[in-house]
Symmetry: C2
Subunit: 361 residues, 2 copies
Amino acid sequence: MTIVERHLFGPGPSNPYPEATTALAQPLLGHLDPVFLELMDETCDGLREVWGTSNRRTLPLSATGSAGMEAAFVNTVHPGDVVVVAVNGLFGQRMVDVAQRCGAEVVAVEHEWGTPVDVDRVLSAHPSPAIIAAVHAETSTGVRSDVAALGAGKGDALLLVDAVTSIGGIEVRADDWGVDIGYAGTQKCLGVAPGLAPFTISERAFERRVEKPRSWYLDLGLLGGYVGEASGRQRTYHHTAPTAMVASLHAALGRIRAEGLPAVWERHAEAGRILQDGLQDLGLELFAQEGSRLPELTTVTVPEGVDSAQVRAQLLERHGLEIGAGAGAYAASVWRIGLMGHNARPDAALLVLAALREALA
Amino acid sequence: MTIVERHLFGPGPSNPYPEATTALAQPLLGHLDPVFLELMDETCDGLREVWGTSNRRTLPLSATGSAGMEAAFVNTVHPGDVVVVAVNGLFGQRMVDVAQRCGAEVVAVEHEWGTPVDVDRVLSAHPSPAIIAAVHAETSTGVRSDVAALGAGKGDALLLVDAVTSIGGIEVRADDWGVDIGYAGTQKCLGVAPGLAPFTISERAFERRVEKPRSWYLDLGLLGGYVGEASGRQRTYHHTAPTAMVASLHAALGRIRAEGLPAVWERHAEAGRILQDGLQDLGLELFAQEGSRLPELTTVTVPEGVDSAQVRAQLLERHGLEIGAGAGAYAASVWRIGLMGHNARPDAALLVLAALREALA
C-alpha cells in the first residue's frame, strides 16, 4: 500500500509531534507493567500542567474527545438536574443532546454562530443550575469564549468546560478559572493522534458525582483506581489501557514541557496571526467575530461564486493539504483551517496561504 | 528514555504483528480523508471475515473492548428487559453490572470458575428472555464455551457474545452460530495495540435496538453513518475516528488475511498445545477444565509453596517476559499465559516454558 502523506490543516486531527509518532511504534507495554504505570503517572502529571490544575483526578480517558464529553455529563448529572448549556456552535449543541440523555433538564442558551458566549445571559439563564456548561474553543466556528468569567459568576453550580481545541494551544487555567469538569482530545493542539480524552475533575465536583453512573466504562469512581490516584497509588484493573496511545501522549507532553507552555501558546498565536492577516490580505473575510478569534483554528468565509468542496479537493489532490469544510449550516460557506500542535508554525501558515492563493487564482 | 522491550505473554495486550506497529507510525490521515474512508471500509470487511459474518453493521468502535461490552448492552436493553447472563468468570460478572446499569432485569446463571457455560441451564433460566449473553473465551479462566449451542437454542432471544479473546485466534462464526451482537478487542489474538472494539450486530438485533440509547458516543444509530453503512456509503460526522489505531488494525487484518484464517487458528492451536503439554510435563496443573481449554490463553495453578507474584516479577526482570496473575479470587493461585496473535508461535511457547522451568527450579 502506498504511503499517503498529508498536511493536516483542518479542524483536527493535526499532524502529530514527531516524538508522538515515534512513541506509537515503540515496543508495546502491558497495561499493568511497572514501566507503563510510571509512564501513566507522568502522563497525568503532564496533563495537569496543560490543564492548569492540581486536580488529583486528571487522566486520559480511553476513547476520543467526544467520549470525554459523555464522561463529563454521565458522571455529574443526576436525573432532573438543571444544566445550563451555552450553545454557540456544534459542540454546544452536542452537549445539549448528551446532557438530555443523562436525564438533565437542559436550559440551552442559544447564540449566533461565530460569536462568543454571552456570559451574562448564560449566568442569568436559571437561578440555581446544578451545572453550567460551555465550550472554551468552538471547533465549529473558531471562536474563543471567556471561561474565567463564567467561573467567576458560577455561584454554587459546577462549571463544565469543553477544551478539546484549546488545551496545549492557548491558555487554559482550569483551577484559576473555576473549571470543575473539563475534557479534551489529543488530536488538536496536543499534537497526538486521535484516541484519548484528557479529562479533569475537581474534588468538589467528584463529591457531587453520580454514585453509579449509567456508564460502566466511563465511571470515574471505578477509573480512580485505574490510574492509581487512590492513597498509596494502588492500581486496580478496570479496563485495558490503550498503552500505545498513552505512550504517544506521554511523548507529546514531554515535547510541550521541553518547549515550555508559554512558548507553545506564543507559537500558536504567531502562526494564527500570520494566517489570519494573510487571509485578509488575500481579500477573504474571517468568519469568527473579531476579538474572539482562535489562533489555532481559523474560520473564513468562502468567497461568492467559489465552490468550497472543489477548492478543498484541489488542495488535497495537488498538495496533500487538508482544510476543513464548515460545520452544520455553514458546511458549504465556511472553511476551517487549523494550525495546531506541531503545525502551529509560520511555515505551515505560509504554505496554506500560498496554496489557497493558487487555488483561488 | 530507555526503550523497554517485553514478551507480552499475559492475558493481553500481546505483542502486535509487526505490520500493525509499522502502520501505527505511518503519516496520520484525517478521519474524512478519502484514503482513510477506503481504509475504514476495508477494515470493516476484514472484521466481517474474522467475525464470520455478513452483518452490514460491523465496525471498530473507538474505545477498548470493555466499551464494546457497554455498546452491546446500551443499544439493545430496554428498561425492564430480562437478560440472562452466563457467568463463568470475571467478564460474565461484568456483563451483569453493565446490563443492570442499562436497566435490565438480570438473571445471572452462576458457574464454577474454570468450567464452561452449561448451555441447558442458561437456556432454561428464563422462559422468554430478551437477551442471552455469554462469553465465548473467558479471559479470566482460559475457558471456551459453546456459543453455537446457545445460538441453536436461543429461540426469540437475541444472543450477545463477548469474543474479546477468541476473535482472530480460534474459530468464530457469528452468522452460523446465531450471534446477534458481538464485541471484541484488538489487543489479543488480532495482534494490535489496545484501543478499539471490533463490533458486529445483526439486522434482527438492530431492528429491536433502543432508539435513543443513554450513550451518545456508542449510539449505533448514529455510528452507522460514520462508517458509511447507509445507502450510497454517505458519511456523516459523528466523532473523530482514531485514525492511527484503525490503520494499525487494517494492517493486522491484512496480515491475517494473507496467512489465511484457518492457518491462523491452527497456529494458535499448535502454540497452545505445546505450552499446555509442556506445563504438564513440568508437573504443573492446568486450571481450566479439560476439553474446554483455550489454546490462546492458558491458566495454570500456582504450585503449593510458590509465591506467584515473585515468579512473575522474576520473569519480568530477568527476561522482560510478562505473564498474568489470576483474576478475582484466583489472583494469587493461578497464572494466565497468553500466546495470542503474533505470539502464537512454537518459539514463544518454548521460551515461556524454559523461563518458567528456570524460575521454578
